[in-house]
């Protein structure tokens, strides 16, 4: 499954499904592929930042710049793996890990005050006992965020 213009074979679908740990059904993967090809207008096999930003709903989102760093240039398999955190079947730790990655803008496995830019957040962190030099790891995030109210799910339209 090289370029996006080639059609998806059953083998490809199963391969992608295995890579995302069966978090999407085969029908959903086909729909995602159609969407991928729709966004990848020049059929390069990946979606460029420009093409993501041509979706107005995405471009006005406050997190778009951070997300762009994570999704720019992904091929279809990695695109599905990225979106699998939003499947209703994904585990809470997996979703929280994605939130952690969004915050960890320098990819060093730690979220420092440099990564979190909102001033309000810095203030509250200090109130909760974190100094300016402290950092959070994934497990800290899991402990803070893991609660039943956390809902991060997206529905893939299957026609």
């Amino acid at each position: 499954m090289g370029s996006a213009s080639s059609t998806l074979t059953q083998y490809d679908i199963e391969d992608v499904q295995e890579h995302c740990n069966n978090l999407f059904s085969q029908q959903e993967i086909v729909s995602l592929y159609q969407r991928f090809c729709q966004l990848d207008r020049t059929a390069k096999g990946f979606i460029s930042a420009e093409e993501f930003l041509s979706v107005p709903e995405f471009a006005v989102n406050p997190l778009s710049q951070r997300l762009l760093k994570m999704v720019d240039g992904l091929n279809f398999k990695d695109f599905v793996i990225f979106l699998s955190a939003f499947s209703p079947k994904a585990s809470m730790p997996q979703k929280i890990e994605l939130i952690f990655k969004v915050y960890d803008s320098d990819y060093n496995g730690k979220v420092t005050f440099n990564d979190i830019m909102e001033e309000v957040l810095i203030k509250v962190m200090q109130e909760a006992g974190y100094s300016k030099d402290s950092s959070l790891l994934v497990d800290d995030f899991v402990k803070i965020l893991d609660h039943p109210g956390l809902k991060m799910e997206v529905e893939v339209p299957v026609d």
Binding site: L39, P56, V60, V102, L136, I144, V154
Partner: protein
Amino acid sequence: MSKLTSSSSELDLDRPNIEDYLPPDSIPQPHAKLRLRDLLDISPTLTEAAGAIVDDSFTRCFKSNPPEPWNWNIYLFPLWCLGVVVRYGILFPGRVLVLTIGWIIFLSCYIPVHLLLTGHDKLRKRLERALVELICSFFVASWTGVVKYHGPRPCARPKQVFVANHTSMIDFIVLEQMTAFAVIMQKHPGWVGLLQSTILDSLGCIWFNRSEAKDREIVARKLREHVEGSDNNPLLIFPEGTCVNNQFTVMFKKGAFELGSTVCPIAIKYNKIFVDAFWNSKKQSFTTHLLQLMTSWAVVCDVWYLEPQNMKPGETAIEFAERVRDIISVRAGLKKVPWDGYLKYSRPSPKHRERKQQSFAESVLHRLEEK
């Protein structure tokens, strides 16, 4: 306060013991932890972004609908082949012939009228109008267009404009064969541009250029002048500003609604069974689009001339535009989408993003204050 062992193997002295901040039921210290959770929890915004990646209402407006594939078996396949032969071999040449005859008649009448009757403006305009209606009828015939018009035919009165939803440039031709409108259009290159600068110009059409920033004021002025003129052709405006795929409507631009005149809505709906009339200007040139129409079976559509609307007291131009968009969408069975059609050509302005960021920050602060 019990100190639980940390699950991380890394010994980081900077790191405060998070367990201290978890809400153990006995310890009354929920505030700091709840605040931290609310602030770090970006899941709603993240979900919105992922939702936009997976499916967004804007891209849906411009999706061409591929024709349903026939179930190819031993019986249908030859029928389909026969259909192709008929369409390309019999219908198409016939249509080209009809169109050529139409152009010959049109040009042989139009050129003399235009050049010789320069003194008698009223008569010349009337003849030119009739001739444009004629050539449009020839165009419609060349696609075997079956157009059903509902409602009272438009008449030329001062202080009124006509607005319609936009699917393709053929919208203009379909409407023009009934009434010679003056339309406001994007200036195109090629043979279409030539037609625009010669024939359509004489109808009083107005041109704009999307890419020029100052253009909007100039166009607004021209619109106002046209509407106020007494013997100008009735003005037709497509307020969506771009072609949309006849299943949705994008936001109407307010320019047509702040001229202080009556707005007469027109709804156009094409029957997709025969052909998908959506012109995806990014994918096809107009010539290719016309050829595609001329090799299909027919173009079937409905045109509804709806009740004229006036701005209600206390209504803004944008509210007026939305109200008319509602009327047209309901009549033609189209879904409304809250996006500006020009986003097809450019990205949302930084203003939009800042607005969203502001409401995001405000909701975070609000949650803080609630605790």
